[in-house]
C-alpha cells in the first residue's frame, strides 16, 4: 500500500519535470467550459464555437503569426474542478491565457488563483462581481447581468410598466439575475410585486404564474435559461395570462420559438445581437461580426447559434488584439495590454477595455437589443 502510494507520488513528480516543449511562434490558449453538468447549456455550444474559431484563426495564419494551440477542459460547472484545471493549464500546459469558465460561481472560484499565478483569465460569467472591483488578471466578455437588467427595465418603463412579477429559476443563472433585477428595480423606481422561483428541471410552472397574475403585476419578467421560459410561456398562454412577458438573454434562442410556438407570440426577449442578425439595421456596427459568427456556426454544427457563443468569440478577439498590441505572448504583458484601452466591435457589443472596466462594456456599448417574437420570428424593436 505504502509502496503504491510512493509510486503514485513519484509519477506525479515525474510529470512535473517533463519539459513543456514550446514550438516557435505558438500561443497556447486554455479553455475552461462547462460542457457537461448543470451548466452544459452554456458550455456545450461554447466549446463548439471555441474549436471553430481556433480553426479559423489558424487557417488565416494565427494571431499576429502565433499559431493557436488550444487546451480544453470540461469543468462540469464545478468550481473546485475548474480551479484544478486552471492550475493545470497554467502549470502543466503552460498557456498564456485562459478563456472561461462559463459560470459565475466557477469564475469566482478561480479569480484569486488567476491573480496569484499571474495568468490572464477571460471569464464568460454574467455577474459583475467577477470584474468589480477589477483585479489585474481577470477580464470578462459577456455583458453583466446589470447591463441586461437595466436594458430590460428601461425598456419596460418606456412602455408604461411600473410593477413586475419576477419568475426566476433557482439555479445559478436565475439566482444571480433575480438579485440584480431587484436591485436595479429599486433604483429605477419599479416595483417587484411578486418574486417566484422554480427548479431548472420542473415541468409545470402554472402555480407560480397564477401567483404572479393574482399579484396584479403589469408584466411578467422571466429570468432563466431554457427549457423553463418555454414552459412558462405555454403555461401563461394556457391560463390566459394577458400581460406582456419579458425574457432575459438566457432564453434568447431559436428553440424558444420552436418550442413555445404560438405561446411565444408577442413576448419580448432582451438579447445580444447574435440571435437576429438579419433584422439588424444595415449600418449596425456589429452586424458584420454577428452575421458571420452565426452563419459559420450554423454551417459547421447544423444548429442555430445561441447567445452564449458570443462570449468565447469576443474573448478570442480580445486575446488577438492584445497579442497584436504587445507582439508577445507573455502573460503579464498580455494582461497589461488588455487593460489598456483595447477596443473592438464584438458580438456582445462595442468593447472598450480599460483599467477600470475589465468587462469592456457599459450601458453605452449597445450590447443589448430588444427582440419581439412576431409571426414566429425575432424582430428587433425599439
Amino acid at each position: 500500500m505504502v509502496i503504491r502510494r510512493a509510486l503514485l507520488a513519484a509519477g506525479l513528480i515525474a510529470t512535473v519535470i517533463l519539459p513543456a516543449n514550446a514550438e516557435d511562434k505558438e500561443i497556447r490558449i486554455g479553455a475552461l467550459m462547462a460542457a457537461s453538468g448543470p451548466a452544459a447549456f452554456l458550455g456545450a455550444s461554447q466549446k463548439n464555437v471555441f474549436e471553430l474559431l481556433v480553426e479559423q484563426i489558424n487557417a488565416r495564419g494565427g494571431m499576429s503569426g502565433y499559431k493557436v494551440k488550444p487546451f480544453f477542459y470540461d469543468t462540469e460547472g464545478n468550481g473546485t474542478l475548474a480551479a484544478q484545471q486552471f492550475r493545470r493549464l497554467a502549470d502543466s500546459d503552460n498557456v498564456s491565457v485562459v478563456i472561461g469558465p462559463s459560470t459565475t460561481g466557477e469564475s469566482l472560484a478561480i479569480r484569486s488563483v488567476a491573480n496569484e499565478m499571474k495568468v490572464p483569465l477571460i471569464s464568460m460569467a454574467g455577474a459583475e462581481t467577477v470584474v468589480v472591483p477589477p483585479t489585474p488578471f481577470v477580464f470578462k466578455t459577456p455583458p453583466t447581468d446589470r447591463i441586461v437588467a437595466e436594458h430590460l427595465l428601461d425598456f419596460m418603463k418606456s412602455k408604461g410598466i411600473h410593477s413586475i412579477g419576477l419568475l426566476s429559476s433557482n439555479d445559478g443563472y436565475g439566482q444571480a439575475g433575480a438579485s440584480v433585477v431587484k436591485e436595479v428595480a429599486s433604483k429605477t423606481g419599479m416595483k417587484i410585486v411578486a418574486a417566484e422561483e422554480f427548479g431548472p428541471r420542473d415541468t409545470d410552472m402554472t402555480p407560480q404564474v397564477l401567483k404572479i397574475r393574482s399579484s396584479g403585476a403589469d408584466a411578467l419578467l422571466i429570468w432563466s435559461v431554457n427549457p423553463g421560459p418555454t414552459i412558462i410561456l405555454k403555461n401563461a398562454a394556457a391560463v390566459g395570462f394577458n400581460k406582456p412577458i419579458y425574457n432575459s438573454y438566457g432564453a434568447a434562442s431559436p428553440q424558444l420559438i420552436e418550442q413555445a410556438g404560438a405561446a411565444a407570440e408577442n413576448s419580448f426577449v432582451s438579447s445580444m445581437r447574435l440571435l437576429a442578425p438579419e433584422s439588424l439595421p444595415a449600418d449596425d456596427p456589429m452586424r458584420a461580426v454577428v452575421s458571420k459568427l452565426a452563419e459559420d456556426y450554423k454551417t459547421k454544427y447544423k444548429s442555430d447559434a445561441t447567445t452564449f457563443i458570443g462570449h468565447p468569440a469576443d474573448a478570442l478577439r480580445l486575446v488577438e488584439e492584445a497579442v497584436k498590441k504587445t507582439g508577445s505572448i507573455d502573460r503579464a504583458k498580455l494582461a497589461e495590454a488588455m487593460a489598456d484601452g483595447i477596443s473592438f466591435p464584438g458580438a456582445n457589443g462595442i468593447f472598450k477595455f480599460t483599467a477600470d472596466n475589465h468587462n469592456g462594456l457599459d450601458a453605452s456599448s449597445q450590447s443589448m437589443v430588444m427582440l419581439k417574437i412576431q409571426n414566429g420570428k425575432f424582430v428587433v424593436v425599439k
Partner: protein, 320 residues
C-alpha cells in the same frame, strides 16, 4: 502470541508516520501548483473518506448523503470567518463540532433504517441539504455566487497553497490517528461485530443504538473537517460542490480503496482525484468509465479494489 496480539494499532501508527513523512516529502518536492493542488484535494477528500470508511466499512451503515456534512463544514468555516470574524483555528473547530452534533442528532432516527432504505434515506438527506444550501442565500450565497473570497491562508512567508498543504497533512494524519485508535480499540471491534450482526453486538454488551449514533457523529465530524479545509483552500465555492455527486464520489473512494482498512480510503481518494487529472481526454468518457468501474469493482472486488489488489500482490509474493 505477540504476533497477532496488539500489533495492529502499533502497525497502524507506523503506517501513519510513514504516510506523514511521505506527504511532507512530497510537499517539499512538488513545485507545480497544479500537482500540489491535486495532492491537496486528495488529502482533503481522504479526511472525509476515512470517516466514511468507519461508518460504511466498519459499522456497516451506508450513507449516500455524506456530501451534506462536507458542505456544512465548509459553510461553517465561511460563516465563522466572514460573519463572526473568528480565527481560522476556531472556524475549523466549529466545522468539526457542528457536523458532529448534527450527525449525532440525525443518526438516531435515520439509522433506524437499514439496507436499501438507509441508502434511500441518506440520499434524500443529502438532496435536502443541497436544496436548502442553494436556497438559504443569506447564509450560503446560493448557487451563484455562493461564498466568495475567504481570506488567504498565506502565513509567515508561506504561500496560501503551502499553508493549506501542511494543514491538510496535519488534518489527514489526525483523521487517520483518530480512526486507527477507534478501529483498533474495543469500540472498533464492537463495530465490526455490529456490522456482521446487531444481535451479537447487543449480546456482548454493546449499546448498538448509541454506538451507531456515535460513529455516525464521528464520520460526520471528519466530513465537516474535510469541508472546512476545502473552504479554506478554495476560498470561493457554492452549493453545487456539495450535491449528490460528492456523496457518491466519497462512497466510491471508500469502495475503490477498501471497506476494511482506513488506509484504503486514502488510496481510493488519491485514485479518484488523481486519475482524471492525469489522463488526457478523460473528461468525455468520465461518467461511463466511473460507472463501469464501479460495476466491475462491486462484482469482482466487493471488498474494495485497493484491498483486492493488495491481497493479490501479497499472495503472489508469498507463493513466489
Amino acid at each position: 502470541m505477540t504476533l497477532h496480539k496488539t500489533s495492529r494499532l502499533r502497525r497502524d501508527w507506523q503506517i501513519l508516520a510513514l504516510v506523514a513523512a511521505l506527504l511532507a516529502l512530497v510537499e517539499f518536492c512538488v513545485s507545480s501548483q497544479f500537482h500540489r493542488s491535486v495532492i491537496i484535494l486528495s488529502m482533503i477528500h481522504s479526511v472525509a473518506a476515512v470517516g466514511l470508511t468507519l461508518l460504511v466499512g466498519y459499522a456497516g451503515q451506508v450513507s449516500l448523503g455524506h456530501g451534506a456534512f462536507v458542505g456544512i463544514g465548509a459553510y461553517t468555516v465561511a460563516f465563522c470567518l466572514q460573519r463572526l470574524g473568528l480565527p481560522v483555528v476556531f472556524a475549523l473547530a466549529a466545522a468539526v463540532v457542528l457536523p458532529g452534533i448534527l450527525g449525532f442528532l440525525i443518526a438516531r432516527p435515520i439509522l433506524r433504517l437499514s439496507g436499501h432504505n438507509l441508502a434511500l434515506g441518506t440520499l434524500a438527506l443529502g438532496a435536502v441539504f443541497y436544496v436548502v444550501a442553494a436556497q438559504v442565500r443569506d447564509v450560503t450565497g446560493g448557487l451563484d455566487p455562493g461564498i466568495v473570497d475567504l481570506p488567504s491562508m498565506a502565513f509567515a512567508g508561506l504561500a496560501h497553497e503551502r499553508v493549506v498543504f501542511w494543514l491538510s497533512i496535519f488534518a489527514l494524519c489526525l483523521a487517520a490517528a483518530i480512526a486507527a485508535s477507534i478501529v483498533d480499540g474495543r469500540f472498533g471491534r464492537g463495530l465490526m461485530i455490529l456490522r456482521s450482526s446487531e444481535l451479537v453486538a447487543e449480546c456482548i454488551g454493546m449499546n448498538t443504538a448509541r454506538a451507531k449514533s456515535m460513529i455516525f457523529a464521528v464520520s460526520a465530524s471528519l466530513a465537516g473537517l474535510s469541508g472546512g479545509l476545502l473552504a479554506l483552500y478554495l476560498r470561493s465555492f457554492n452549493a453545487s460542490a456539495f450535491g449528490v455527486g460528492l456523496s457518491i464520489e466519497l462512497l466510491m473512494m471508500v469502495i475503490v480503496g477498501s471497506l476494511s482498512t482506513i488506509w484504503g480510503a486514502m488510496f481510493g481518494s488519491f485514485a479518484i482525484i488523481v486519475l482524471p487529472n492525469l489522463l488526457e481526454g478523460f473528461d468525455q468518457a468520465k461518467q461511463v468509465v466511473y460507472g463501469v468501474a464501479m460495476i466491475l469493482i462491486m462484482l469482482f472486488a466487493p471488498n474494495g479494489l485497493g484491498e483486492t489488489l493488495f491481497r493479490v500482490f501479497t499472495f503472489r509474493r508469498k507463493s513466489a
